[in-house]
């Protein structure tokens, strides 16, 4: 069965607990983390997480609502985008 992959990207000031908070939210929705990358770019903490939503009953909209709370509390910018857009833009 093809996977239902999304990229979760986080940009903001480096601080404790970013990955913990995101991972926990993802776990609560039965979403599997496939891969994770993080680095400091132009002075900002940047993390990209590739996650599989195949077994989750949540929609991207639901996840975004939950992340909106984390964004506010930790002053982060969190994006959730389906993998297809990266495939279409970066792979021929």
């Amino acid at each position: 069965m093809p996977k239902d992959l999304v990229f979760i990207t986080v940009i903001g000031k480096d601080q404790k607990g970013i990955i913990a908070r995101i991972s926990n939210a993802v776990f609560m929705h039965n979403i599997n983390i496939e891969d994770l990358n993080q680095k400091v770019m132009d002075g900002y903490f940047v993390m990209t997480m590739l996650a599989d939503m195949t077994d989750s009953s949540a929609s991207i909209g639901d996840i975004k609502k939950e992340f909106a709370e984390i964004e506010k509390q930790m002053d982060l910018n969190i994006q959730v985008q389906h993998e297809n857009i990266f495939k279409s833009m970066h792979r021929v």
Binding site: M41, T48, M89, H90
Partner: protein, 451 residues
């Protein structure tokens, strides 16, 4: 990971910081099957079809926005040219249909609905004439209906009798609406495309199927940022990086368009790759040209810079999608692009230079405020000049002029919201009257004989 961090972040940055979005998802709807000689039945057929599909468009577009994190700014509808569907109806049918379209658009939460227009490049039927005469009343009594007229084409030449009428009609529309704002919803064309997703000129052409979902992408901000990052490369190199960026944004547009069409169970039409600017900081086509090294848009070199820019966008876009269509040129709407507006304010940019740009790649004289006392024949002459560029070069050109009542050259005018603000442009005061009033049809150019 299959993608590098840089690749992922490139896409994320485009939407977060450089205003990358789908500027419009426009659903073309055929209304020929709604025709009924009983006007009440006719209106209810139109209302039902437009609201059903309009609501579906808004709902499905919202879901796709969530899925890809790319905003779809406008959800719009274009319909079969209204002059065609009211041929067998009574005098007031065009206006009645316009009011129905307006109500349907409002109820479906569609901000603009296009197609109140006619194709009269060779001549006018009685219904065409009636519709043209109703334009001032239609544009002052509806909120969301946009109008168009195709009055010229490369194969038919220019209908100068229609163009004579338009000088007076534009003044009449302007006088009936605040600051002449009704004119912002009306575009006059040569070689109008049947699948244009952008307002005010969108209509669902007669060669189109029952439905067609057309996408207008956007990305002046994205292109400006790659030009900014490549300050030292020569123009060949610059063309290459713009081409790559255009490829990426067109692919995203195609993906979103195809999926939206499939979810709505309608055919996917085209991706229009025009760079459509907004008044947001950095989201300006003039800003790209200036970043390329022109001090102010309109200075010598602007035409060459814009030609290079759009050529690169077309090449990248054509590689990315087999369905490039619509206008796919440059939009440089003066009031809707803050950089264009600045250039007009400091007099770097004249209407003559704007006209020159349309010979290369711009699709018309767009959102230009002119003095309210400009004679009707002069307005007709500006339209004729602009459209003749389209006719002779085998391309689309359009005109959206606003003769602002009571304003003189240099005066400030604010149309509000997306329509922006601008300064009234200088127009030559020498007369074109005797030429224009000759009327008739300007013959098609020799280049139209291709068979």
């Amino acid at each position: 990971m299959e993608y590098t961090l840089d690749e992922v972040m490139e896409t994320v940055r485009m939407t977060l910081y450089h205003n990358f979005d789908i500027r419009t998802a426009t659903l073309g709807i055929n209304l020929k099957d709604c025709i009924d000689t009983d006007i009440e039945n006719f209106k209810s057929n139109v209302y039902d079809k437009v609201t059903e599909y309009g609501k579906k468009l808004v709902y499905e577009a919202g879901k796709i926005e969530d899925k890809y994190g790319v905003p779809i700014i406008n959800k719009r509808i274009s319909v079969t040219p209204v002059s065609l569907i009211v041929e067998s109806c009574s005098e007031d049918a065009p206006l009645e249909i316009a009011k129905t379209l307006d109500r349907a658009a409002r109820d479906a939460k569609i901000d603009f609905i296009g197609g109140y227009g006619a194709l009269v490049q060779k001549g006018m039927t009685r219904a065409d004439s009636r519709l043209i005469d109703s334009l001032p009343e239609m544009l002052s009594s509806t909120e969301r209906v946009c109008a168009f007229l195709n009055v010229a084409s490369t194969v038919s030449g220019m209908n100068m009798d229609a163009i004579i009428k338009l000088g007076n009609i534009l003044k009449d529309i302007a006088s009936k609406t605040d600051n002449g704002i009704g004119c912002t919803k009306f575009a006059v064309f040569s070689n109008a495309p049947e699948d244009n997703p952008f307002m005010a000129g969108a209509f669902h052409g007669i060669g189109e199927p029952d439905f067609s979902l057309n996408i207008g992408i956007s990305g002046p901000g994205v292109v400006r940022s790659v030009v900014e990052k490549n300050r030292d490369c020569d123009l060949t190199g610059l063309s290459e990086v713009i081409k790559r960026t255009a490829f990426k944004i067109t692919r995203a547009g195609e993906l979103i368009g195809r999926e939206l069409a499939s979810n709505m169970d309608v055919p996917f039409g085209i991706v229009d790759i025009s760079l459509a600017s907004t008044n947001k900081v950095g989201d300006s086509v003039a800003g790209i040209v200036e970043m390329m090294g022109i001090e102010k848009m309109g200075a010598p070199g602007s035409t060459a810079a814009l030609a290079l820019l759009i050529d690169a966008v077309k090449k990248g876009g054509a590689m990315a999608s087999g369905n490039v269509g619509g206008l796919s040129g440059t939009f440089i709407p003066v009031s809707e692009d803050s950089g264009m507006n600045e250039a007009v304010k400091c007099r770097a940019l004249s209407i003559e230079k704007l006209e020159a740009l349309t010979a290369v790649c711009s699709v018309g004289l767009d959102m230009i405020a002119i003095p309210g006392d400009t004679p009707a024949e002069t307005i007709s002459a500006i339209i004729a000049d602009e459209l003749s560029i389209g006719v002779v070069n085998g391309k689309t050109t359009g005109v959206r002029l606003i003769p602002v009542p009571g304003k003189k050259a240099g005066d400030y005018v604010n149309f509000g919201g997306l329509l922006g603000e601008t300064y009234v442009m200088d127009i030559s005061t020498f007369s074109s009257r005797d030429f224009i009033l000759r009327g008739g049809r300007m013959p098609a150019p020799i280049t139209s004989m291709r068979n």
